[in-house]
């Protein structure tokens, strides 16, 4: 049984339920929800509140009738497409992430950005709109102190790290607000691989951070 100690915040679950987050954030949240029955139940409760809001809400008239919809169904029979099992599936990677990977984690074309630090970019958005990537840090690595302009979600895929907030292990999520500064260091004896999604670039502090910033690009 997995033991999750760091969960999603209520406001992130609310935003996820309302459907106002981008695809990278949704992917990361779905990974955590796969491993965390507690947050899954909280998300179901948020959906139930969404349902009540819908059921109690105002109504407007529809031109299309129920009969039209049934006729539409008869005229356009469905051809079901069965979703494929992702290639990276089962290797400790939940499906929402595995679907985005061309190979298992260790075979990815990682790019080194510092000693013991490499990344694999998943994002297709321009950098200023945020980042979406896997980061792999060797045991003992220490990230430069950094902060975020908006929101950063980190999902730990394997290994662990510790920072000012405690120890983060596989399955945990770090749901950080904009004003949070942290200095994570890897304390597992295997590399710590994490999935990161932000909705704005990360700002590094200190000299090393300034040097690394252009290469990390998070």
């Amino acid at each position: 049984m997995n033991t999750i100690s760091h969960h999603l915040t209520d406001e992130t679950i609310q935003d996820y339920s309302a459907g106002v987050l981008n695809a990278p954030m949704e992917t990361l949240i779905a990974c955590h929800l796969t491993l965390c029955p507690i947050c899954r139940q909280r998300a179901e409760l948020a959906d139930a509140i969404g349902g009540l809001s819908l059921g109690d809400g105002a109504t407007v008239s529809m031109n299309v009738t129920a009969q039209d919809v049934i006729a539409l169904d008869k005229a356009n029979p469905v051809t079901g497409d069965v979703p494929q099992t992702p290639v990276a599936s089962g290797a400790g990677v939940p499906n929402p992430l595995a679907r985005l990977l061309p190979s298992p984690l260790h075979e990815l074309p990682w790019k080194t950005f510092g000693p013991g630090m490499k990344q694999y970019n998943l994002g297709t958005l321009p950098r200023k709109e945020g980042a979406f990537k896997l980061i792999s840090l060797d045991p003992g690595s220490r990230m430069s102190k950094h902060t975020h302009e908006h929101r950063e979600l980190t999902f730990i895929v394997s290994g662990s790290y510790s920072d000012e907030l405690g120890k983060f292990k596989a399955g945990d999520i770090a749901d950080l607000s904009a004003d949070h500064h942290h200095t994570p260091h890897v304390d597992s004896d295997i590399p710590c691989i994490s999935l990161i999604a932000t909705d704005a670039p990360v700002k590094f502090e200190g000299l090393f951070g300034k040097i690394v910033q252009p290469f990390v690009g998070i």
């Binding site: 059921g55 529809m62 031109n63």
Partner: protein, 202 residues
Amino acid sequence: MQKKLLQSAKAPDEAAQALTQRMRDNLVAIGKYRDEAAFQDLYAHFSGRIKSFLMGKGTQESVAEELTQEIMLIVWRRAESYNPDKAAPSTWLFTIARNRRTDYLRGHSRIEVELDDEMLEIDDSRPTQEEQVGLLQQSQKLELALNKLPQEQRQVVHLSYFRGKSHGAIAQWLDLPVGTVKSRIRLAMQSIRSELVSKEIK
């Protein structure tokens, strides 16, 4: 003592409960028998609300009409997968409407947990909310809990679902610090959760 207080606070709304039950029966009948009369009844209740819900998020009327038609087509086709023990009909329709809107806005599907994922962690030791209170009662209690929230907390919940705003955008819209909006959401969720649990146990 606690139970008495809560019971006297508000009598259960039997009409609302009957409606939830009827919509639930409708969905089950559609799933099992392709019952067209049941679909018409469900459609009469939900289609206009879904359209209104989409328009509230800034979708223009003609698009909202078309999306609602597609959403109701999905409901008709997938009613078999509706589990009456798992979710209220309104919850199920809400998730379909939300997901279809996401597909429309960005051209690919919302990303969700896959229930057949071999990584899926299931905790049998925790009773589900449904097991704790029963599904119909849960809807009922949830509604009462929502109605009891202070106005400022209900407002953020409302803006979230009806205007499709993130908590950051709600803060801007209301001209409030983000921290204030976050704490309102947290307080709202805490009191709803404790309401759902306490009523059954005490």
